[in-house]
């Protein structure tokens, strides 16, 4: 038993080193890793007591047979892994079509919720059936830490997109603010559609109120920081439509008054400097002749010395 334990010990040291290096990856501090080392015998006994792993569970690992049994991933864990994979694929499948125009929050929040759920199961340290925890075996048994990486990619996507602002905390539904914004947006877009044909000035005039309401709502939400990427993108697109496609921006039509006022102001200093040049008396300095030793400082003398 002793050499075997020693072997396990080495395995744990080997996997702890990269995880420590990654810092925040698994939050494994030195004391924690010491705890882990103490936990080695119990875990190994658990591994030993578990039934022989099934080779034909749908995952085919060609090298698997070469390892001793108790290093193997338990049934329970590989089931979890399987489910994680399926949900992951579902989420990605949902994300990709929602990339443009961005609808990642609206359409995929529920699938994201399911991914989060299964990852929670994997990473929890509660014992599953058969006294198994999958956190160590699935998440940090190797340098690559694939499951963790995959999940953290999704997580950072979710954070970058700010979707949490638009979805309720339990990832069940969209917030009321978001729904309200969407409906306002729809009104505006309907208005755009209605007047799209023909003269755009007509559109600018008629849709102004709808567009204005939307703008006000948006800036309000910006202040409350309840914006997510969906809303931002929708607003950007609407603004681009409004400003670029329909050309409803404010025209620059006050050139004359602005130029007049500023050239008047530019003109003032010229008058000021001219008048002070002409009317102000020039400041004169009174020269004072210091007394020097006589005859020594005369120019003649200096030149004599020089020559």
């Amino acid at each position: 038993m002793l050499p075997y334990n020693l072997y396990l010990f080495f395995v744990f040291v080997a996997i702890d080193v990269p995880s420590l290096k990654c810092g925040d990856v698994v939050h494994l501090s030195a004391s924690e890793s010491a705890d882990k080392l103490e936990a080695v015998p119990s875990l190994s006994t658990a591994a030993v007591s578990s039934p022989v792993p099934a080779v034909d569970t749908g995952f085919s690992f060609s090298l698997l047979s070469s390892f001793p049994e108790d290093l193997e991933v338990s049934d329970y864990c590989s089931d979890l892994l399987h489910i994680f994979g399926q949900r992951y694929v579902a989420y990605v499948n949902c994300l990709v079509p929602a990339a443009r125009p961005v609808k990642v929050c609206q359409s995929c929040y529920s699938t994201y919720g399911s991914v989060v759920e299964i990852y929670k199961n994997i990473s929890s340290d509660q014992m599953g059936p058969g006294n198994v925890t999958c956190r160590d075996s699935l998440l940090r048994s190797d340098r690559l830490m694939l499951v963790y990486q995959l999940y953290s990619n999704l997580e950072s996507l979710w954070e970058d997109s700010n979707c949490a602002q638009c979805v309720t905390g339990d990832l069940e539904s969209l917030t009321n603010d978001t729904l309200y914004f969407m409906s306002t947006l729809n009104q505006t877009l309907t208005c755009f559609e209605k007047y799209q044909q023909g003269n755009h000035t007509e559109l600018c005039k008629n849709c102004k109120s709808a567009y204005g309401t939307l703008n006000v709502l948006y800036s309000q939400m910006e202040k409350n920081s309840t914006l997510c990427i969906d809303i931002e993108d929708a607003m950007n697109m609407t603004r681009r439509l409004w400003s670029k496609n329909f050309n409803c921006s404010f025209p620059r039509e006050e050139n004359v008054p602005v130029i007049a006022v500023s050239s008047f102001m530019l003109f003032l200093p010229i008058i000021f400097y001219l008048s002070s040049f002409l009317h102000s008396e020039q400041k004169k300095r009174k020269l004072i002749h210091p007394r020097r030793a006589k005859s020594n400082t005369s120019l003649m003398n200096i030149q004599d010395k020089l020559s």
Binding site: R239, S262, R285
Partner: protein, 773 residues
């Protein structure tokens, strides 16, 4: 070949009328001006327009040299070793106080500017948004101009009517003070108040100015005030630090204050110490350096601490300096060896532009001194500049077509949309519609593509002229930030252009780096500081890897700039006719000897002198001599008097005030003996001689100067060369240097003005003229 131009042609007749009656007495003669037949112009004062080749009479030297008279020796004997240790400790305490107070002032200025400018820009922004929709933007323009003018009016009136010395950045004045020139009223409390309010007003008023230069002056005033333990303006004496009431100690503390000011302004403690070193290095020792460093450190971290409280993150000490250049991301600051020549070219460009800036400002300043000298005119000029700044900025923004998408990080700023599409902002407005500090930061840090080359070019051009026009107005304002801003703008432009030439290599794509180098080049080209500026820039950006390029750039900017024109501060020192002593005597001046340099004849006092004579000499308005050699006449002989000491005007006045006459001392034995404390109490504002009443009887009394004079004044033989005399003055901080002959007779006196009048001009050695200003 050195030849003297502008030499006042002196009488070369070998007349035998003795030493009296020769010309207008000025430096140390006692004669009343008397028109002379042979040389009629010398009799009446000649009037000329102000120019740079003058020395003003109103500036005097500091008494840096210790007067080791008997009183001083007595005091030193009385003092215990403990007393000296206490003095040393109180020096440290004072330095700590200087740091804290300077940091607090910096904090106050920063918060006030942020509040006032924020309020102003908010009002204008709302107004512009409203009028963009309904029309009438010219009203916004007028509103902007009026708000600017309102702020500048307050600042301008304060400066022009109450304390004109508070105008400008104050760095030239502090530089002169550290050089050993006593600039009247420069370290008064009133100056500090006017300076602080003035700088808040001018920055909030949207002028092209910064608040960093005035911080250095403020630090100097704080130091001069704290170290004296009293305020003459407030008439409060705290009875503290009485030992430090003399020029020697005060000047050391002022150098600490200036360092604390630099350190608070830029978050650069080491830069502050080096600034003091660079500007006042002739009197220096290690302990002083260490104390100054202490003051700087305390100052920057006081600012830090209070700003962290203000920003709601108490205890976060990572916010140093008024100007915060922000963090450069580590990947964007990488540079490669092949970029060094480019940086050096930018340095040369900075030197050229700096020389242009200085030349323009030089002509403008001469015009201002000659024609715009009345306070009301000065205020009006400042108002006009404020209005034009607003008008130009508005026009630039109005006609700019450079629209950029709003990013998430721009929320804190006052972005203007104007005619841009919704969700975009006017890029010109980030440069103009902002406080200059923020504009600098955005030029350094915004990602590539935030500015059009066109926008940057126009901005550089307008801001260059605006800043040049603004510096020298009667408002307190610094030139650091405008220079940085101009440089950052054209530097960024360079970066963008370079990146467009070489589209393949991505490392060129970061224009922020070029903005930094451009800013350094432009600032170096204008102010021509070297060592301290390098360290300040490195510390302010928090990036040591940029030490090499910044140093090279500043070096080249200085070399190129000096070829055309002096630094801005030197120009202003010259135009104020200050007798400033540079590092060394002008080259090619070794043939000049003390005999030619000195003033002669000298008004001397006998060791036991009649009070009437002293009062007459002191109250002679045509002479304002400060030092009088004391001579002793060998009794019953015709031998001329020999030098035995030197006494200062201030000492004589105190003596007259306390009526230390020989006769009185005999009659009233109980009279208290005069102590050094009595001289310190009168410091620094000695009463004028007119305020001292001396009765007819007292005029006949005698005064014994033996105890009070400096018994061992420095003397030189008359054949000493000018550079030697110069070195003595510069290294020892002398005020008077007696020229004696081989039998120790006084034949002349050299003062600072005698030395400062020689300078190397375009046509060899030139001589400056003395003038009343």
């Amino acid at each position: 070949m050195a030849n003297i131009t502008k030499k006042v042609s002196w009488s070369s007749r070998g007349d035998d009328s003795g030493l009296t009656g020769e010309g207008t007495p000025l430096l140390n003669g006692s004669e009343i001006p008397k028109p002379s037949r042979q040389d009629p112009i010398r009799g009446r004062p000649k009037e000329i327009p102000h120019n740079e080749k003058l020395l003003s009479l109103k500036y005097e030297s500091l008494d840096y040299d210790n007067i080791e008279n008997q009183l001083f020796l007595e005091e030193e004997r009385r003092m215990s070793p403990m007393g000296f240790r206490c003095l040393e400790i109180s020096r440290w305490v004072i330095c700590g106080l200087i740091g804290i107070l300077t940091g607090l002032i910096a904090c106050f200025i920063d918060i006030m500017v942020e509040k006032l400018a924020g309020y102003k820009y908010q009002v204008i922004k709302e107004n512009i948004e409203k009028f963009t929709e309904v029309g009438g933007l010219s009203i916004s323009l007028i509103l902007w101009a009026v708000l600017n003018c309102a702020f500048v009016l307050v600042g301008g009136i304060m400066v022009a009517f109450f304390e004109p010395i508070a105008a400008g950045s104050g760095i030239p004045q502090i530089k002169c003070y550290l050089n050993g020139v006593k600039i009247p009223r420069v370290v008064r409390l009133k100056t500090l108040v006017v300076k602080v309010i003035g700088v808040i007003c001018s920055v909030a008023g949207g002028l092209a100015v910064g608040k960093e230069g005035p911080m250095i002056h403020s630090g100097g005033v704080v130091a001069a005030g704290v170290s004296q333990g009293r305020s003459t303006s407030l008439k409060r004496d705290f009875k503290m630090f009485e030992y430090f009431r003399r020029d020697t100690e005060k000047r050391d503390f002022v150098s600490a204050g200036a360092a604390a000011g630099v350190s608070a302004a830029f978050g650069a403690p080491v830069g502050g110490v080096l600034f003091s070193l660079e500007e006042g290095a002739s009197f220096w020792n290690q302990m002083l350096t260490w104390r100054i460093f202490f003051a700087s450190m305390i100052s920057t971290f006081t600012l830090n601490f209070f700003l962290s409280i203000y920003h709601g993150k108490p205890g976060d000490l990572s916010n140093p300096g008024l100007i915060n250049f922000g963090r450069f991301e580590s990947d964007s600051v990488a540079y490669y060896y092949y970029e060094i020549p480019l940086f050096m070219c930018m340095g040369a460009l900075g030197g050229l532009l700096g020389a242009l800036f200085n030349s323009l400002n030089y002509w403008l300043t001469i015009f201002r001194i000659r024609y715009v000298h009345r306070p009301c005119l000065q205020v009006m000029e400042a108002l006009l500049v404020a209005a034009v700044t607003a008008a130009v900025s508005f026009t630039m923004i109005y006609f700019s077509n450079d629209c950029q998408p709003l990013g998430p990080e721009r929320n804190e700023e006052y972005s203007l949309q104007l005619f841009c599409a919704d969700g975009e902002y006017n890029s010109m407005a980030t440069a103009f519609f902002n406080t200059p500090e923020r504009s600098v930061r955005s030029l350094f840090h915004y990602q590539p593509g935030s500015y059009n080359p066109m926008t940057l070019g126009l901005f550089t051009l307008t801001y260059f002229f605006l800043a040049c026009w603004t510096y020298g107005l009667a408002v307190s304002a610094g030139v650091f930030i405008p220079s940085l801003l101009i440089g950052a703008a054209w530097g960024r432009l360079c970066g963008i252009l370079l990146a467009s030439f070489t589209p393949t290599s991505p490392i060129w794509a970061d224009p922020g780096k070029y903005a930094l180098i451009g800013a350094a080049a432009q600032l170096g080209g204008i102010v021509r500081m070297t060592l301290s500026l390098t360290v300040i820039m490195v510390e302010a950006t928090g990036n040591v890897t940029y030490g090499l390029p910044i140093m090279l750039v500043l070096m080249i900017a200085k070399i190129v700039g000096d070829y055309f024109q002096e630094g801005l501060y030197d120009i202003h020192i010259k135009l104020q006719s200050v007798p400033f002593l540079h590092w060394e005597a002008p080259a090619t001046s070794h043939w000049l000897t003390a005999r030619e340099v000195m003033s002669s004849p000298v008004t001397c006092f006998n060791r036991i002198e009649k009070v009437g004579t002293i009062v007459d000499v002191l109250s002679n308005t045509s002479t304002n001599h400060n030092g009088f050699p004391v001579v002793v006449q060998v009794l019953d002989s015709d031998e001329p008097a020999k030098l035995c000491g030197l006494i200062l005007r201030s000492q004589l006045i105190v003596l007259l005030k306390h009526k230390v006459f020989v006769e009185l001392a005999r009659s009233r034995l109980s009279q208290r003996k005069l102590q050094l404390k009595d001289f310190r109490d009168a410091y620094p504002r000695f009463p004028p001689i007119q305020s001292i009443h001396v009765s007819q009887d007292e005029r006949e009394c005698m005064m014994d100067l033996t105890e009070f004079m400096n018994p061992t004044p420095y003397t030189v033989p008359q054949d000493t060369s000018l550079p030697r005399v110069f070195k003595l003055f510069r290294a020892l901080g002398l005020r008077h240097l007696v020229v004696a002959d081989d039998v120790n007779r006084v034949i002349g006196l050299v003062t600072r003005k005698d030395l400062a009048r020689y300078h190397l001009g375009k046509h060899g050695l030139e001589e400056l003229q003395l003038a009343q200003t």
